[in-house]
Amino acid sequence: MRAARRVFLFVFAVLLQVVPATALRAQHITLLADEVTGAGFSAQGVRAEFANGALTIQVGTARAGEQTWKNVRLDCAALKLERARIACDDGAFMLTEKIPLSLNYAADKRVLDVALKPAPDETWRLDWRPGKRGNDLTVRIDGGRWQRAAVWLPPDLPKIGAGVVNGEIGYSGAGRIHAKLALANGAFADKSGLRAGEKVGVALALQAEPAAQHLRWRAELAWNAGEVFWQPVYLKAANQQLSLAGTLDATTLRVVLGGLRFPGVGDIELSGAYDLAANQLTQARAQARAIAVPALYESILKPFLAGTVFADLRTDGRISAAVALGCKGLQSVDVHLERVSFEDKLERRFALFDVSGIVPWRADAQTQAVVIVKGGELLKMPVGAFALPLNMHGMRFDLKHLRVPLLDGAIDVRDFVARVGEKSAYWQFGGEVGGISMDKLTAALGLPVMHGTLAATLPMVRHVKSSLRVDGALNIKVFDGTVQANNLVLLDIFGRAPRVQADVSMQNLDLELLARTFSFGNITGRLDARVTGLELVNWQPVKFDARVASSHGEYPRTISQTAVQNISALGGPGAASTIQRSVLRFFDQFGYEKLGWNCKLQSGVCEMSGVEDRAQGYVLVKGRGIPSITVIGYNRQVNWRELLDRIRRVTEGNVKPIVK
C-alpha cells in the first residue's frame, strides 16, 4: 500500500512540476521517463499522457523494497482543472487490483488530498500539506485490511487470514514519524496449524525523531484481545504490554530500554542490539525480578515440559533471573531462587521443598552455585535437607560430594560430572547408599517388609543418550547376605518399554528372613543364587538363567511342612495334596541336605532343573536326618506367567495347609 502511495505521489509531483499551467489547456501532452528513483523506490518506463481532459499515467515496473509491480497505472477520465484546484472524483489506480481513487489539490493552500477506496468499507486517506519545515504527510487508515501487510512480511511467517487496521501514520517534514494503529479481529495461521492466532487485537503507538546521528524511537505495543497458539505455547490476551525505546542508524537497531509486562506473571526488562546488515542479534539482556513460579510454570514452562516427568507439578516460590546474550550466544545466566518448591502432583514420584540460593552461570568462567534444599520426597520417602555446591564452567558441571538424607540413612553422590553438548548430554557419578533401614524402605515402596539395613555401593554410573550403565559391581547388603549386580545397563529408561540388563549373584542370604518376608513357610539355612543374562522389559523379566541353591558350609537346615507344601504347590494343583495323604503330615519340621532350583527363562517358558537329576525328574529338596523329606519335580517346562501366578497364590496364603 505504501508503495502504491509513493508511486502516486511521484506521478502527481511530476504532473505538478513539469506541466506548466498554460500547457494544460493544450489538447494532448505525452511525457516519458526511462527511470525514476528515490530512497528505496524506483520506477521504470514511466509514461504520462493527457488528452481531452483525461489523464493516464503508466509505470512499466515499480519497485519498493523487495517488492515489484508490473504495469502500474493511474486513470482519471475527467480531470477537473480549475484556477485554484485540480480534482479527479472518480479515478482508478491499478496495482494488483483496481482501486477507486479520488483526489483534490488546492493550489492556493498547496494541500493535496487523496482517497483510495479498495473496498466499500476500506479507505486510505492521504493528506499532504506544507508544514513548519517541509511538507507534512498524514495517512489515515479506516477499515484497512491487515492481509495487505502480508507482502511486506518474511515468507516463513504464518499467513494472515483476516484483520482490520484503523489508525494514522504521520510524517512531518522535520523527519518526525508518528503512528497510532489498532488491529482488530486479526487471524493468522500456518499450514500445520501450529502457529496460529484468532480474533487478535493489538494497539501500537510509535514515535520517532531524528537525533544527532540516528533516529530515536519509542514503541508501545499492547495485546488486548484474542488468543495465540505458537507451538507449544498457548496464550490468551491479558493486556500484555511491550514497550521499547531505542535508536536506529544505518547499521544497527538498538533497544536501550525495554519492558514486557505480563499481567499475572511479572515484568521483564529488555535491552539489545540488532545488526541490520548481518541480520543478527549482537547483544541482548533480559531481566526479571521476583517472578511467581506457579504463574511462570502454568502459562509458559508447562507446555515445553509436556511428556516429561515435570509435565504436571504443583509449584511455589519466586524466581529472579537475568540472561545476557552476545554474538557468540549465551554469555551469562543469573538465577536467584527464593523458597521454590515443586512436587509431582499426581504420582508423587519426587518433590523438593524450599529451594533457595543463587546460580551464577558464565559461558567462559568458572563459578559455583550455592543452593540449599530444605527437604523433599523421593517415591513418597522423605528426603532431608541438603546443599548443592555445583561447580560450573561453561557447559561442564561437577559436584565433588552431595549427601542427600533419605529415610533414616543417606545417599552419597561423589564426583558427579556432566557435559552438555549441542545435541547430546553425558553425565556420570559414583557413590554409596548407607544406613537406610530395610523395614522403612520396603514399607515406603510397598514391598513385603524386609529387615536389616540397606548398604549399597555404586562404583560408577554413566548416562549416555537414554541409557544408564553401571561400571563395576553394585553391592547391596540384605537378608544378612550380599547381593551383587554386574554389567547393569538400563536402556530407554524414560521410554514406554524400559529395558534392564544385568548379571546378579547373591551369597549367604538368610533363608529364614527371606521365607518369612515372602510368607513362604519356615525354612532355616543359607542361600546362594546366580542369575546371568537377566533381561527386564518394563520391569518384568523376559530372559534369564537362574541357579538358586543352598550355600555350602555348616548351618542348621530345616524346612517346615508349610514350606514343603508351598514348594509342591508350585508344581501345579494336586501335587500338594499327596503330602496331606502321606505320613508326612504328622511332622512339622524336616531336615534337608541341600535344596536348589534352576530356571532358564526364554520366550515365556521356564526350563527347570534342581540340585540333582532323577530318572524322570529333578531333586528340588534333598532330605537328610530324621524325619527327612525329598521333593522331586517332574515338569521340566513351565509357562513363566503361570509360575508367577502360582507363586503369587502361594505367598498370598491362598494355599493353606489343610491338616486333617
Binding site: 495461521a189 500445520s192 496449524g193 501450529l194 496460529a196 492466532g197 484468532e198 488468543e227 495465540v228 497458539f229 507451538q231 507449544p232 505455547v233 498457548y234 507446555p303 509436556a306 511428556g307 521410554g495 514406554r496 518399554a497 529395558r499 522389559v537 518394563n538 520391569w539 518384568q540 523376559v542 520366550s603 515365556g604
Partner: protein
C-alpha cells in the same frame, strides 16, 4: 548336467528350510511385557484420539503413523494437547513396531512390520475416518 543336479539338491534344501521355517514362524511373538505396556498405553489414548479421527482432525498416514491433518477442526486452546497426543501416539507406534521386531529376534523386520501395520490400521479404520493413500493424498473411509 552337473549344474542341473546341484540346483535340484539345493532346491530341495530351500523347500525344506522354508517348510521348517514356516512352522516356526506361524505366529509372531507379541506377548511380551514391552509390547503389552505399549499396547495398554495406546489403548488408553485411543479414547481421546477416536473423536479426533471421527472429526477428521487427525488421520492415519501411509507410513503407520497418525497426523494432525486439519488443525482448523481443533480450537486453539486444545491444539497443544492434540499435538501432544499425536506425538505421543507416534512415539508409541514406533516403539511398538520396534518391540515386535525385537521380540521375534528380527530387528531388521521393523520396517516390514511398520508397513504391515500401516495397511491394517487403514483397512480396519471406521467409516468417516481419514487416511493417506499410497500417493500421499487424504481420503475418507
Amino acid at each position: 548336467m552337473k549344474t542341473f543336479r546341484l540346483f535340484e539338491i539345493v532346491l530341495l534344501l530351500a523347500l525344506l528350510s522354508l517348510a521348517s521355517h514356516a512352522g516356526a514362524q506361524a505366529n509372531l511373538e507379541i506377548n511380551t511385557p514391552g509390547i503389552a505396556a505399549i499396547q495398554a498405553s495406546m489403548q488408553k489414548r485411543h479414547a481421546e484420539l477416536a473423536p479426533l479421527y471421527a472429526s477428521g482432525a487427525v488421520g492415519l498416514t501411509r507410513d503407520g503413523n497418525v497426523q494432525l491433518r486439519d488443525p482448523s477442526a481443533v480450537p486453539l486452546p486444545q491444539r497443544a494437547a492434540v499435538n501432544g497426543l499425536v506425538a505421543a501416539e507416534n512415539q508409541d507406534r514406533a516403539a511398538l513396531y520396534r518391540e515386535i521386531a525385537r521380540a521375534n529376534n528380527r530387528p531388521e523386520w521393523e520396517g516390514d512390520i511398520r508397513n504391515t501395520f500401516a495397511q491394517r490400521w487403514i483397512d480396519r479404520a471406521q467409516p468417516g475416518w481419514y487416511y493417506q493413500t499410497a500417493a500421499g493424498a487424504w481420503a475418507r473411509k
